[in-house]
Every structure is written in C-alpha cells, then in structure tokens.
Amino acid sequence: MRPLDEKETTAVFEKIFKFTGNNLKNIVENPSHEGPDKEPGRYCFRLHKNKVYYVSDSLVKRATNVARTKLASIGTCVGRFTHGGNFHLTIECLNLLAANAKHKVWLKPTSEMSFLYANHVLKGGLGRITESIAPGDGVVVFSMSDLPLGFGVAAKSTQDCRKLDPNAIVVLHQADIGEYLRMENQHEQIIEE
C-alpha cells in the first residue's frame, strides 16, 4: 500500500472530476469519522495491488502492521489501474460519486432492471435528467426513488435528449450495482454461516 504518485493522482482526480465537477473538493477535504481517534481526520487515496482505495488516515495508520500480501481491502475501493495504465472507476465508489454527483439521470421503474443487466440507458427509459449535461460527462444513474444504480458516460447533451427517439442511447453504461451479483460467482448471496 502506498500513496499515489503524481501521474496516478492526476488520472484518478480527472476521472472523478468528470462525475463530480467542483464537488471533488468535498471528497478530498471532508473530515473522516472512521478510526478510533477522537479527532476527525482526513481521507486519502492509497494504491494497493493496482486498486485505489479512498480511506481514512487513521485506518491507514492502523493497517501498516498488516503485511502487504495479506491485506485484501481497506476503506472504500474507488477504482483500479489497468495494465495499460488507465484508471477505471469501479462500482464500489458509487456511494462516493452519488453523494457528490453533478450530473444525474433518473430511470423509470420499467427500465431499472435493464440497466442493472449492464445495458445502456435509452431515451425511452429516462425519467428525469439534470440540466447542462454535455456529451462525455460522467453521469450517475438513479432510480426514481433516488436509489443509486450505477454510472456511465453521457452520449448526448441534455438539449439533444429532448428530440431523441425512444430507442436512442442517452447514457453509455460503465458500472451498475448488478455487478455485485454478476461478478461474484462464488458470492454467497443468501446464506451465511
């Protein structure tokens, strides 16, 4: 586990900035309530085995005596670096994004499940959309009951959406909470010991 170097930091922040805009400041500066310390600390980003974690400082301190090979996860995982050196956000960071999202779309109940099976968001399934989305912006997808379902990249601007036909893609799928089921073949959903 180590802090991100400059290049990595830039990659991570750029990616998050696409979704949160200036709210990125909140993510970095929020006081952390995790950890046994009385004083609230700060959050930081740490890289561990290709994955980037967003974690309270005091947890990082406590985790130092866990061997590198034995540490599986700490705090919240926000994404991972691919072999090519690109940074991808993963579904685990959804809460972080949803809390600070700048661009949002809300899905009609009928198209919720479709999105949860990794399909793109179509105009027909769109319930609401925030103003001033430009193509290429990061968009967080909610259900009509404000349940964060995932995120993606806007394919069309808000303006264009008005005139689109129902089958046109509005948001390109990147991640959704259905992954918790799909990616976990050995995930014991129902029963635990």
């Binding site: 309530h33 995790e34 950890g35 046994p36 009385k38 974690v55 309270s56 005091s58 947890l59 406590r62 985790a63 005596n65 866990v66 061997a67 090979t69 034995k70 540490l71 599986a72 996860s73 700490i74 705090g75 919240t76 995982c77 579904i91 685990e92 809460n95 109940p109 919720e112 499940m113 949860l116 259900s143 009509m144 009951s145 404000d146 349940l147 964060p148 379902l149 909470i177 259905g178 918790y180 089921l181 990616m183 976990e184 050995q186 995930h187 014991e188 959903q189 129902i190 029963i191 635990e192 010991e193």
Partner: protein, 668 residues
Amino acid sequence: MAANKNKGAKSKNPPLKKKLRNHLFTEKKRPTKKDEVFDDVSDGQSEEEQLEEAEDLLDGDEQVSDFDDASDISDDDDAPLADDFLQGSDDEDEDRGSGSTSGSGSDSDGTDIEEKSRAIDEQREREEEDAQAEMQLNIKEESDEFRLPTKEELEAEQQRPPDLANLQMRIKDIVRVLSNFKELRQEGNTRKDYVDQLKMDLGSYYGYNEFLIGVLVDMFPVVELMELIEAFEKPRPTCIRANTLRVNIHFSVAVFDLCIFRSTIAIISFEMQTRRRDLADTLSKRGVELDQLSKWSKVGLVVYNSHVPIGATPEYLAGFYYIQGASSFLPVMALAPQEKERVVDMAAAPGGKTTYVAALMKNSGLIFANEMKETRLKSLTANLHRMGVTNTIVCNYDGRELPKVLGQNSVDRVLLDAPCSGTGVITKDPSVKTSKSLDDIQKCAHLQKQLILAAIDMVDANSKTGGYIVYSTCSMMVPENEAVIDYALKKRDVKVVPCGLDFGCPGYIRFREHRFHTSLENTRRFYPHVHNMDGFFVAKLKKMSNTKKNLVSSDGSETVEQTQRPEEIHSDEDNKKELEQQKIKKQSPKGKKKSLKAKGLSGNGKVESPATLKNRDRSENGKVELAATSKKRKRKFPSKEEISKAREEKRKAMRGQKKQPKEDKTGI
C-alpha cells in the same frame, strides 16, 4: 334436591370419586369402536335414567350399563349415585349427621336404596375387574403390536431396499415405548436395545451417520430429539436485516406498518424521506411480504413470501438490506460494539456479521475483518462495499496469527464466529449428516481452542469501553462450545458474562461425564425446534486482566499432576506391598508418608527441581485439587474393605499409566 345432596357427597367423597374417575379413564382406553357403538344408546338411556331407577338396567347388557354409570358420574347430578353415597358408607352418614337435608327423603325408601347400592357396588367391582383385565389385555396387545425386530429380521431388511413407511412406524413406536418405558417395554429388552434400534432407524430414515445420531441421542430426550430432527428437515424462515448505514430504522417499521395498515401509508410517507418511502413502496410493490422478525431486533425482518428473488432486487444490490439467518444477529448483539472502538472479526466472510457490527458502530471506529480463506475474500469485500461499510480493514491471516500481527492487548472487542462442524445448520447443508465424524469434531475443537486464546490475547482488558470477546458457533456439539469456553477459563484470566440475550437455553454445566465451570450458565444455546433458528451457541467473555497468570497457574497445576502421577504409581506399589505384607487397616496416612519418603529418594535419584518437590508436598498435604481430590476422597475410608481397595489401587495404577503419555503431549 338431588343436586343439593350431591354437593354434600362431592365435598365428602373426593377419594371415592377419584376412583370413579379413574375407572372412567380406564374405560376410555378401550378400543374406540365400542365407544362409537354404544354412544347413542347410552345417551338416550342416561336421560331416561334420570327419571327412573337404574336397577333393571343393571341386569341388562353389561356394556350398556357400564356406560350409563359413566355418563351418570360425569353428569354429577344423578340421584341414585348420591343416595348410594349417603347410605352405602356408614362413616359418611355419621359425618353428615343432621346437616343432611336428604334425611327424610332417604328414610322412606331406605331398604330399596340399600339394595340398589349393594347392586351398584357389586357391579362396580365387576366393572373394575373387567377393566383391569382389559387393561392387561390392552397392554399385551400393544406390546404385541410393537416388538423390536430380531437379528434375522434386520438382516433380511438389509437385503431389501429400505421400507420408509415401515421405518417411520418403527421410529414412532420406539419413541412411544421409550417415553413410557416402564409400562410399554417388552420383557427382556433393555432401554439400550430400544435406543440402539432407534439410532439405527433414525440414521437410515433421515440419512444421518452413526456418530452424529449417537451424539444427538445423547443430548436430547427422545421426544425432543424427534422434534429437532424434524426441524432439521424444514427450512428456516428467510430473514433480512435492514442496513442502518443506508436506511434509517424507521424503514423497517414503515415496511412493517405498510403490510398491516395500508391506510396509513400516506401519513408515514410524508414523514419519511423520499428514498425510504419509495423503498417501502417498491418492496411491497414487488410482492414481498414482510413482518418484524421479533421484538428483540429492531432491524430484523422476516420474509414470508416473495414474488421476486429478494437477493436480486435493486434495493438489495444497493445495500438497503442484507439476507442473513436470525441466528447471525445474536453474536453481534451479544458483542454490542460501541462507536469509536477497535473491533476484530476473526472469521468474517461472507460479511453478514461484520456489516452488522459496522452498522452498530455507525461506520466509526475500526474493524479488522479477517478471513483465512482467500476465495471468500471477494464476497466479503463485495458485501462490505455493497452495504456501505467504510471503516474496515480486510486481511487474510490465519486467526491464530492475529495477536502477533495486530498486537497483544490492542483492541476493544473481538468477535469469534469460529469455524465449526456446522451441526446446527443441517437444514442448509444436509451433507453434514453424513460427513462429520468424531475426528472432525475434535479437529474443530482443537482449532477453536487455539482461536479463542488468540482472541483473548488480542483484547485489552484495560479498555475503557470494551474488553469483551464473543465466541459463537453454528454447532450444537458440546466439545465445540462449552468445552472450548471452559478451556479458555482455565487458560486465561477471563470470566463468562451474560450475553445480553434474554432468550435461548443456558449452556450445559454438566454434560454426561463432563463438568464445566458454573458460570457457563451465562452462555446461550439456540435450537431449531425451540427458537426456529439455526442451532447456535453464543458466549460472551470479559477479560479481567492482561496477565496470563492463569496460564502460569495452570502450568503449575500441570506440573503438579505430572509429578504426582509417578508418585501415585509409586505409592500404589507401596500400598500393594504393604497390603500383601501386613493388611493394615489404618494404612493410608502411613502409606502416604512412606510413599513420600520412597518418592523423595527415588526423586533424588531422578533429579527433581525443588519447585516440583514443593508442589508435590502440597499435593501430599491434600490441598491441591484436580487430580489430588479423587485420590484424597478414596483414601479417606481405606479401612472399610480391603479387597475393594486393592481393586481401586489397581485401577488407579492403570489410569496413571494411561494418562501419562496423554499428559506428556499436552505438556509439550
């Protein structure tokens, strides 16, 4: 008037009436066919009889009159019977004296009544005889109905494919016999014969292996055992836990209300935040029928019926609830983690308990979620993220190494949901029925003992808020539960404290040959047939001090044992010699002293540390418990029977020899 008399009779004659009642009951035992046949007849006639005397009927068909009598007694206001009481027994007449209002009435037809009463008495005697004869007959018939199969029959049975209906019948019969063994037993068969047959039948009917069914039979009385085994065949209700990190507690209440008072939805929804309202709406819209789990949990909901898989709703994926068995709530509730604490979950996957702990801590503090199996890490981290837990460090150690890694006395609370044989969750994993053996249980118990010591070592006894260890298993085996806690009590300075769960059965203090510390009453056991949750065990320990002084003292006691054993043998030999030589009666003190001397000499030869000698001296004084006590007690009355004593000595010597290799192992 009749009623009046009868009252008097009632109060004066309880024993007689009781007899009659008994009589009635014996009659009821008759085959029901007869009852049906005579039911109508007796009904009609009992009415008639209230008007006229029963005498002519007495001579009639016996069965019918039997019934008349019966119905009369049960009616409690029949004239003839009351009169009989008044006239038939002399002492009662005296008792009654002038207080009786019936005096004048009975005078007029005194002789008549006397005759009648005599007739009735006779008849009653006859009936009683009949009834008894019939009882005997019944018993015979019943025992004829069921007898244990002979060896040949069993062999023949093994040739054929198992006849399940027949097996079930036999199981039922044996259970019936065992629950009333004195009456229903078959001559020449011991209880053991029945129990053995029951074990065999249960094993083949439900598919248990010999070992497991044997243990279960040892643990429960037969009737309860049947309930338990039946409960294992049925699934437990699905429970979900509302995640307070994502949803407020009101959610669960709201859903609950929603199910029952649909009219109040509107009011509630105004009070709730949008998200929660919609969640409640959507869950019910999806056709999930929920109810509060029970009054001990605010976050638990039980799912009765669902049209959608509740493990795949968007709400589930968003971490609004977690699906977990009711039993999984218990250890966390017992742990009762506080905010800002350092907590370790030693066997965390798949994360149900860890996420609950995090929810109780409101994501503050720090949780070390450890999981040894690498393959389960993925589901653990996924669940933690899904449920929005951010205060967790997930690591992948063997639980026994944890004190070295995290530091001794470094955390406030430890949750040890130990890996176990899983005998409490046969419902979920029926393979346990056949796959577990004594060996597996012992292996589990060994690992559990190591783990619980590791858990205790990690906890800081001086923690302001904590200092607790919760140990839980989903096993029902005593070696994996009470024995482990008992072991921890001996090895570390901890005590068992109440779990904070106001239900559940107390743990065993004594089980067969085992005797555990009395504070083990504070542990809790949960059974499928009693609590409708998985078989479960929860114990909460409080660490009293960080010193391992108990460890030292137990080491000491071990050395005492060790030093004593050879001495025991020596003294036995001495005693034997003395027995042979002198046949002294007051031999015990002398023998002891002699043996001590002898031991001292031999000890010098063997080179002994002064400490062990000291220990031995203490034990010689009979002040050290443990191994010494049994010996001491036996030594107390040596003068009584020399023969029996000689036998004892022999036995002891044998035991000592047996123990020695075993103890050496543990000593190492």
